[in-house]
Symmetry: D2
Subunit: 285 residues, 4 copies
């Protein structure tokens, strides 16, 4: 059993004394540190930290921790967040017709690998409703075409709000989101692209890879930004292919990559391990 | 000790009976097959084969094998080549200032991993002459600038001819060859590019990778064609990086990739395992 | 659509003319070769081949191919098998309580990655019946303890016979089979062991790995023989771990390995790519 | 240019306030932290830390830092060490006849990847003296047989003392050290074993791997302890092999693994990133 814990994530300009101040604050209030990671970007003089600590034994009520920490954060100009382990993030999954990433996320959540509530699944196709039903999750079929994109995304946004969703996962959702949705959830929409970005941006990357004759294919999970496939990369992986592999083989081998890479990125996000910095990520693990 | 062997490489339109004809020819003349690989591209109806056979026990003199095989090859419209294991390829290495790929190739050749003669090393800088001297290989310092590119490449071509060079290896040779040299040695110039192509074409790929915030870096070995970094890919590999890795770390980690990937490509080429097909390769191993 | 095809697998002492004889037989009867792989073990003078050919265009009925080939096989003392692509293998899956490998196999079969019929799932626990039900596959709960091992395995054997099962897959089935079952299905029972064999034979390999402080963990899929975890290895893979990973993390990371490695082995077996040779395998792909 | 820095490594029982105390000490004396890593083993209540800090700007002379820190370390029962970046470790390399790991270490040191002085190379064979000469390093040929093991190791120990050696690297040194040497340098002798330990302990691991029919081979770098191949593992890696690979191929492929794994372990040791804990390591990177 994991103990009840809080997790602080911090970004700020780098200077002397940050780690001392944060850890002294925690020690002063009786917190036991379970895990701490920090990173200093020496070029840009930027500092990043994630610290997870037990609540038991602290002399502060959980609601008092944030306000007390604000006094530490202020002088360092920290951007910071505080999460508690008994309030798992709420994750919406968006899919189209392919089921492999959806099944993978649902099974990992069931196995406890991904600690999240999944209040809903949204799709522009009806096909995967039975999968959702198997796992007892409400499924919203919201078809989308050239004429109703605005309405469909408004409907998605409304569902996200109603369900107090923290993070949207595009599990092979085959639609490009408009700036409306993207801007509404910065660093909270995770996509899986089926190539080793920045190679093979856009559509049909396995076909592109086949044409180019590469000897490895990849998958990339990233936060969605307005520019297609250009968002901060969270995780990537590749696998060997050869002249014996046709496009269908690339698609088959790629499914394993997509599953693994998306799950790794989602897990890191759910555990508050991903900090963004310009168009890059710091993954503190 | 490897037995004395011949290696036939074959490309032709795919149709029934090719393997039967080639292997019956060999069996008929008493050849023992040591290794045979073939590939049929079912989309393009193209066939590729590499077959290595012992010379001992054959009823043909080695000089008679090719002419006899021509009668088999004709009806199938085969493009074919025949090499003998006691006539290793002659390899020229081109370098600039970085020594890691050069050392790697020389040490592998010395260890017997790369079976080739290395009659010369050519460079546009004098720096690596001592390395060449250590291994007892003539070193030609041919500086190149904006005004003497044509003359310098003519000099390279002359050295290649004089030394009966079969294959040119650009071991971090930091010059873009002109069409003159490229066209003279199709599928006989091997380059190592320090990225996972087609990502990060052109100059300073590690800097590009750092800027983009990728989580893996790669290296690609390919035949040189007129279009920069677009030639048929022979080998690729990648390694994991993280936010902790600055450009200097990418360069350091990349050196290992470059060594391994270039050596793998050169070895495959020297063993006649690489057939090209459009801008793709078939690597028969 | 894959064309209707036959697949011949062949093992025999190595000598001149084997490939020529096999491929000439096929060419003579009008067969188009889709894929051919062969391997000569030069130490032991042993030869292995897998050749897949289209049935359309042949001048032999499918039932006549085997008898006709027997005349080729005889003089070379070949052990051989012939399978047809429209008669997929029948696979029984044995499980205990862990569901990750079971789900993985069922989803891959549904996606067409594993071409097999799955007439039944057998378990010594009732837990995974709902998974079987979801996929519409009969589930047989056969509890086993110290006193009924013989009866339980007899029951398994009976189910295997009734359902004309070709291959048994132990998808984290946590029982050691007795020689009775093992001997009945040589090279037809595939297990996944959650370590990089031969490291960490036997029980609780992740705990053993943690204790030893290894920096990578692995998974191994192999044919079951009478000696525990000593059968011919079909596939293996590993992943990096660190001091930050406790036993629970090794188990979690290991699940991905187990899935991938078992699926790879099962797929190779179903496609008749695995030939055994002593306690080793030849995987022709 | 790296700034002048100090590196503290710390092991102690885990309790509240350790990180705060260490980082407050540094902040109080004006030290800028360049990199800090820590690990809490929650099972064993053990704490490990490595912190690297700039010397410039501190209000303590470098010789005063240790004594001042001792006051912090005492109450926490810390075992700790302090190193300075301008006093690189002194490394002795022991070899027998194989040159690939030796060349690799020497080239990496020359390239600045391994920051160490290499005052001497010791061998039980004369073969690699020319390599040492190329790099301008004294070479001591100390033959060893059944009758002079004690004398030879006494000679090694004397050379180690004379040259103020910090770490001994066995770069394919094909002798088992006696307890005399092993006990004299705990966690200061690094070996490369050419298997994925604990698989294939002892002699001829590639032959063992070939016999067992594994599908991957590995290499392991570890600290030497009295029990053969049982010391704390620092780094491991593997590569794919197949039925096509004979023992010679395993040896060839293994050389690349040995080079990479040994270099990774040596680099981590030289940068004070390896803490040992029972028979396991914490590698803080």
């Amino acid at each position: 059993m994991q103990p009840l814990s809080g997790t602080l994530t911090i970004s700020c300009p780098d200077r002397k004394g940050i780690v001392a101040s944060v850890t002294t604050f925690l020690a002063h209030h009786g917190a036991n540190i379970l895990e701490a990671n920090q990173h200093s970007d020496l070029n840009d003089k930027a500092f990043f930290m994630r610290v997870q600590f037990e609540l038991e034994g602290m002399d502060l009520e959980r609601d008092a921790i944030g306000p007390a920490f604000a006094a530490v954060a202020g002088p360092f100009e920290m951007r910071w967040q505080l999460h508690f382990s008994d309030r798992p993030k709420r994750m919406a999954i968006l899919v189209s017709r392919l089921d492999h990433c959806l099944y993978d996320l649902l099974l990992r959540q069931k196995a406890g690998e991904l600690v999240a509530a999944i209040p809903l699944i949204i799709s522009n196709h009806p096909d995967l409703e039975p999968v959702a039903a198997n796992f007892g999750i409400p499924y919203f079929y919201l078809p989308v075409g050239k004429t109703n994109r605005v309405e469909q995304e408004a409907r998605i946004a409304a569902l996200v709000e109603e369900n107090r969703v923290d993070v949207l996962v595009l599990a092979r959702y085959m639609q490009v989101l408009t700036p409306f949705l993207v801007q509404a959830y910065p660093n909270r929409i995770i996509n899986i692209h089926h190539s080793f970005l920045p190679a093979f941006v856009g559509g049909r990357p396995y076909h592109q890879a086949y044409e180019r004759g590469v000897k490895m294919i990849g998958a990339t999970s990233h936060y969605v930004t307005e520019e297609l496939d250009q968002g901060p990369i969270i995780a990537q992986d590749v696998t060997q292919v050869s002249h014996r592999d046709g496009v269908e083989d690339l698609i088959r081998k790629g499914r394993d990559l997509e599953r693994l890479v998306l799950a790794r990125a989602v897990r890191a996000h759910l555990e508050d391990r991903v900090l963004t910095y310009g168009h890059r990520t710091i993954v503190l693990e």
